[in-house]
């Protein structure tokens, strides 16, 4: 049985923890609103990009001279996994669920006899994967001091990946991130970015039977568009991730605050009971002492 003083101390410490988790929840809620807006504002660009790409890609279907970024280089031996996670923890299962998806994919690919390389964007993903795949991680990109993610950040990552592709360091690149559905639901997603995946639902725009005129040629436009598409997809993934991270942290901290509240209630009950027991005991001692005289 802990003493009254111990109980008082424990109640005080749980209360302090509750205050911290409450504050973190509120900060996450404020940040979430901004991150969600950013993620939603970025969607039109990515969607238009996909539909333009689908329009142009149709012309190249099955042609041997299709750009390598679209059709791939014909191999799938070396797989690059681009794992985007957060820089900080304490956000529920956010980081671990992305890492788990990446780990499962990596294990499957290794089982198929392929070479796996991992590029981590965000420190937490690297921490989670380092234990098992330390030799596979080729680079870790951190955005630690970055307040607001801009397109330039994503472009930097995109250019790095493209340079590696051109150097023949890998054949297929897959992007791992968490798609933001709502505050309570974020879906870890794997998306192939090289060769470009053309979403089936981005139907070809109806041009009313008229031929699409391109200037310069379709090849040149596509050659310009495809690298840009890589950066765009990464940018979108980073923004979705930012929103997911805050959403996940918000619900995790909400849970923690509630747990702390329950704990305080339980401890307070115990504290009051033992205090009462002590008083009763003292009274009995006094009364029985008085009777004995």
């Amino acid at each position: 049985m802990p003493s009254l003083k111990d109980l008082r101390n424990r109640i005080a410490s749980v209360k302090a923890t509750q205050k911290i988790t409450k504050a973190m929840q509120m900060v996450a809620a404020a940040k979430l609103r901004r991150a969600q807006q950013a993620a939603e504002a970025a969607r039109p660009f990515a969607e238009r990009m996909s539909s333009v790409l689908a329009n142009l890609a149709g012309a190249f279907e099955g042609r041997p001279d299709a750009p390598v970024l679209l059709a791939g280089n014909g191999r799938a031996d070396v797989q690059l996994l681009v794992v985007c996670t957060a820089e900080r923890g304490l956000c529920g299962a956010f980081n671990s669920s992305i890492a788990r998806l990446a780990r499962d994919t990596a294990n499957r690919l290794i089982g198929e006899g392929k070479t796996v390389k991992i590029l981590c964007v965000g420190r937490k993903g690297a921490d989670a994967l380092r234990r098992q795949f330390a030799d596979k991680i080729i680079e870790v990109i951190e955005f630690k001091g970055v307040k607001q993610l801009g397109y330039d950040h994503a472009d930097g990552v995109g250019k790095k990946i493209l340079a590696m592709f051109e150097a023949g360091d890998f054949d297929v690149a897959t992007l791992f991130y968490s798609q933001f559905k709502s505050v309570i639901s974020q879906i870890p997603t794997a998306q192939q970015i090289i060769p470009a995946e053309i979403p089936a639902k981005a139907a070809k725009a109806d041009v009313g039977g008229a031929a699409y005129e391109c200037e310069p040629s379709e090849e040149e436009i596509l050659a310009d568009l495809l690298p840009r598409n890589v950066s765009t997809q990464i940018f979108r993934a980073l923004l979705e991730n930012a929103a997911s991270e805050q959403g996940s942290r918000m619900s995790a901290m909400d849970n923690a605050t509630r747990n702390a509240g329950e704990m305080i209630k339980k401890l307070t009950t115990t504290y009051n009971r033992s205090r009462q027991a002590m008083i009763t005991k003292e009274l009995i001692e006094i009364i029985s002492g008085a009777e004995a005289v």
Partner: protein
């Protein structure tokens, strides 16, 4: 007055502009062109430069765009730009930074083709810089 059509300017971060306009002057890679309603389906890349959208009321908005595409269809004109800044907000130091980046790109360029592209981009940026109102 020309008939209005839908014009959308999208940058990765946000939808910059989405409104009905009478005409749009676009700095295309192969030369400037003006879009009116009912233009044939047409797609082109955009060079760094200033785009001019004339609203139905005759109000002209000038926007600096860099790197992207113009996609004209029956539904209207969509421009995907890597960067889009209204000219009023465009500061001389922003263009100066762009020019510096372009110069670095030129220095980094290895093949002749890459050099030509980088040089072209630099020239275009310098032209914008010369025309910028705020310096």
């Amino acid at each position: 007055m020309a008939e209005a059509f839908k014009f959308e300017l999208v940058s990765p971060a946000r939808l910059v502009l989405s409104e009905d306009v009478a005409q749009v002057m676009v700095p295309g890679a192969e030369g400037d062109f003006t879009m009116l309603k009912g233009h044939a389906p047409f797609m082109t890349t955009v060079r760094p430069g200033v785009l001019e959208a004339t609203g139905v009321s005759g109000k002209v908005s000038k926007i600096f765009v860099r790197g992207g595409f113009a996609d004209a269809g029956p539904a209207g004109l969509t421009i995907l730009a890597e960067q889009a800044i209204p000219v009023e907000e465009l500061k001389a130091d922003v263009i100066a930074k762009e020019i510096k980046d372009a110069e670095e790109d030129l220095a980094d360029a290895k093949s002749d083709e890459a050099k030509r592209v980088a040089q072209q981009k630099l020239d275009q940026l310098k032209a914008v810089f010369a025309a910028a109102p705020s310096h």
